[in-house]
C-alpha cells in the first residue's frame, strides 16, 4: 500500500457584492451608528432589512430606525473562536431582537463566560471605532449595565427613516476562504511518487484495457478500479495545441513569456493526452504529430515543458482517436 499524500488546499477570493437600495441603506446606516430595518406588509419590522416581503414577496422599501439595544432571544457559547470571527476570545453567538424590531439579528456577545449569558438578557451594540459600512461596524454586543440611553432610535418604537445618507456605500467586498486538507488518493499518490524518479506511471483498466494518465484509480467509462501500473512515455506525440498570446490574471501562466504553445500530448502507451507547454522550438513551428520528450528542472515535480525529439512526425492516423 503506497503512502497516500495529503496537502493543505486554501480556496480564497475577495468576491464583491453590489448592495442594491435596501442593503446600501442598512450598511451605510451602520457606518453612521444607525440601525435600519424595513416594515413588511404585515407591519412587522425586519432587521436586518430584506428587499422583498417574506410573506407576500412584494418589494418593500419602508425603512425605519430601530434601537441600538435589544434582547437576546437565544444564544450558543463559542469556546474557540476561529479566524475572522468578531472576537478573538471566547464569546456567545446571540440572536438579538433590537428594540423596535420584530426579528432578531445574529451577532457576537462579549461575555466572560456562558454563565453570564441568558435568553432575555438586555444587550447593546458596541460600535467599532473605525466604521466603513459593513456588518463589522457592529464590533459586537455587550451586556447592558445601565438604563438605555434616551436618544433617537433607542426607544421601543421604530422611527421612520428615508434611508438617505451622504456618500452611501453601494458595494462591499466579501472575502471567502475555505481551508481543506486535500488528498489525491492512492493512484495519484503512486503517480506523484514515480514522477520524483522522472517516471510517468499510468494505470490500465482491466475491462477496456485503456491506460489512464494521470491515473484516478478507476476507469470513468467502465466504472471499475484500475490497479495495474504501466509506465508510459517518456516520449509522446502532440495531438493538438493552441498558441497562447495573452497572460491571464488568476491563472498560473503569469510567469511564462508569451507567445507559447499549450499542447495536448499523448505519451507513448497512454490512451488519453495530458496537457503541457512545448519549448525548444519556435512557437509557429509546432504542429500536430510533432514528437516530443519531457524537459525536467531540478526542483520541478512535473516536467517543465516538452521539446522536439527530432523524430519524424507521427502519422495522423496513429493519434486521431486521441483528439
Amino acid at each position: 500500500m503506497p503512502e497516500v499524500r495529503t496537502a493543505p488546499l486554501v480556496v480564497e477570493f475577495p468576491f464583491t457584492r453590489s448592495l442594491g437600495p435596501v442593503q446600501s441603506a442598512f450598511l451605510t446606516g451602520l457606518r453612521e451608528r444607525t440601525v435600519l430595518g424595513v416594515r413588511g406588509s404585515d407591519g412587522r419590522v425586519v432587521v436586518p432589512p430584506a428587499e422583498y416581503d417574506p410573506v407576500t414577496a412584494e418589494e418593500i422599501r419602508e425603512l425605519v430606525q430601530v434601537g441600538a439595544s435589544g434582547t437576546v432571544t437565544t444564544w450558543a457559547w463559542n469556546p474557540a473562536p476561529r479566524r475572522g470571527q468578531p472576537l478573538a476570545t471566547p464569546f456567545a453567538w446571540v440572536l438579538v431582537r433590537l428594540d423596535g424590531a420584530d426579528t432578531a439579528l445574529l451577532h457576537a456577545l462579549d461575555a466572560p463566560g456562558p454563565d453570564a449569558v441568558h435568553t432575555g438578557m438586555r444587550v447593546r451594540i458596541r460600535w467599532a471605532a473605525e466604521r466603513t459600512g459593513a456588518i463589522t461596524d457592529i464590533a459586537c454586543f455587550e451586556p447592558e449595565r445601565s438604563e438605555p440611553e434616551q436618544s433617537a432610535g433607542n426607544g421601543r418604537q421604530p422611527i421612520p427613516h428615508d434611508g438617505e445618507f451622504a456618500d452611501p456605500v453601494t458595494g462591499i467586498t466579501t472575502p471567502a476562504r475555505l481551508d481543506y486538507t486535500y488528498s489525491p488518493g492512492r493512484a495519484q499518490s503512486r503517480y506523484i511518487d514515480a514522477l520524483a524518479d522522472r517516471k510517468t506511471i499510468g494505470e490500465r483498466c482491466p475491462s477496456c484495457r485503456k491506460v489512464y494518465v494521470p491515473p484516478r484509480g478507476a476507469c470513468p467509462t467502465c466504472g471499475v478500479a484500475t490497479d495495474a501500473q504501466v509506465e508510459v512515455g517518456p516520449r509522446g506525440t502532440v495531438t493538438t495545441f493552441c498558441i497562447v498570446n495573452i497572460k491571464a490574471r488568476h491563472t498560473a501562466n503569469l510567469d511564462i513569456e508569451v507567445p507559447y504553445v499549450y499542447a495536448h500530448i499523448a505519451l507513448d502507451g497512454a490512451d488519453l493526452a495530458l496537457h503541457a507547454r512545448i519549448g525548444g522550438i519556435p512557437y509557429d513551428q509546432v504542429r500536430m504529430g510533432l514528437r516530443v520528450e519531457p524537459v525536467w528542472t531540478d526542483d520541478g515535480r512535473f516536467p517543465d515543458h516538452y521539446r522536439p525529439t527530432g523524430e519524424p512526425d507521427a502519422d495522423y492516423d496513429s493519434y486521431k482517436e486521441l483528439i
Binding site: 493543505p8 488546499l9 480556496v11 477570493f13 468576491f15 464583491t16 457584492r17 453590489s18 448592495l19 442594491g20 442593503q23 430584506a50 428587499e51 422583498y52 416581503d53 417574506p54 410573506v55 414577496a57 418589494e59 458595494g171 466579501t174 471567502a176 486535500y182 489525491p184 495519484q188 506523484i192 483498466c205 477496456c208 485503456k210 491506460v211 489512464y212 476507469c219 470513468p220 467509462t221 493538438t240 495545441f241 493552441c242 498558441i243 497562447v244 498570446n245 495573452i246 491571464a248 488568476h250 491563472t251 498560473a252 501562466n253 507567445p259 499549450y262 499542447a263 495536448h264 490512451d271 488519453l272 496537457h275 503541457a276 507547454r277 500536430m288 515535480r301 512535473f302 486521431k320 483528439i323
Partner: protein, 393 residues
Amino acid sequence: MNKAATAKECVAVVGIGQTKHVAARHDVSIAGLVREAARRALDDAQLTWADIDAVVIGKAPDFFEGVMMPELYLADALGAVGKPMLRVHTAGSVGGSTALVATNLVAARVHRTVLTLAFEKQSESNAMWGLSLPIPFQQPLLAGAGGFFAPHVRAYMRRTGAPDTVGSLVAYKDRRNALKNPYAHLHEKDITLEKVQASPMLWDPIRYSETCPSSDGACAMILTDRAGAARSPHPPAWVHGGAMRSEPTLFAGKDFVSPQAGKDCAADVYRQAGITDPRRQIDAVEMYVPFSWYEPMWLENLGFADEGEGWKLTEAGVTELDGDLPVNPSGGVLSTNPIGASGMIRFAEAALQVRGRAGDHQIDGARRALGHAYGGGAQFFSMWLVGADSPAA
C-alpha cells in the same frame, strides 16, 4: 389506469423575462437582478407570485460567484416562501437543465405552474479563477478557458479541412444579430468582418472577437400545463422534447470535437419530438457557442450537417438570420454571457421564436426551434425542442 392519467402532461412556456445584459449591474443586488427577470416573466404571462407553485433555479458553480446557497438567499426575492424551491447544478449547461427540471415537474403533474430562473453576476466574481483552483499535486491550468477549448477547435479544423475564416463569419453574424436584440450585452454598431478578422489572436486559432463577453444578467420562464396555457394572454411555446446527457470530462476515447453525449441528447430530443430531418424540420436554433468555431462543430454534433460538413453551412450563409437554418438569431453566447443564465437564454430565445415574440430578430414563420446548452469540459448537455403547436394537437 386510462391513458389520460398516465401520459405526460403537455408543458407550455407562457412567460419569458430577461434583464438587459451588461458588463456590470452595480445598481442591484443579486436578489434585485433575479427579481427583475422573474417580474418580467410574470408580467409576460400576466400572472402573480400567488400563481406560482414552485421555483427551480440554476447558477454557475459556487466558486464562480462566491460560496453561497442561492436557493436560501433568493427565496424571498422569488416569492418562494411556503413553496418548493430547487437548485440545479450542471456547470455552463445549468440554465438548460434547470428549465428541464422545471418542465419535468409540470409534465409529471407534480406542479401546475413553475417559475424557473438562472442568473450570473460575472462582474462580482472571476470565472477564470473559479476554473483554476490551485489543487495540490496537479499541474496548474496554464492557458485559461480559451486555452482549454482552442486545441479542440484546431482538431476540428484538421479533421474537416475547414478554412480558417469560418470562425470570423460566425462572430460577425452573431454580433450583427445582437444589434436586433435589445437584451443582448454587446451592441457593436460598427462591426465589420474586417474588424473581426483583425482582432488579436488570443489562443491561436481563437481570436478575441471570436470569444464571448463577461456579462451580468438573469433569465426567467413560466412553465405551465394545458389549463394554464389556455389562460395565456400570448401564444405559448409548447415543449415537444427535452433531454439531458452527461459524460466524464476526460476519458480514453472521448471525442472532444463531437462528444457522444451531445449526439445522444439531440437524438433523444428529436425522437420525442418526431423530428427525422432536423435540417428541414427545425426553423431556428439557439445553440451554446462560447467560441465562434463551436457553431460548425455543434451543427455536426446536433445532426444538422454530416460529419465534416458543418462549416459549409456557416460559410454558405445558411445560419444567417435570413438563411434557411438561422442559428443564434439573438446574438448568442458570443454577444451575451452571464454563464449561469446562458443556457436558459438559449431555451428562452427558442421559445420566443415559436411564440412569434422575438421582436426584430424574429424568424418569420418559425414553428419549431431548438434550444441547446452545454457545460463543464463538454461534459453536460441539455436541449429542448419547442413548437408553436401543442404536441397533443
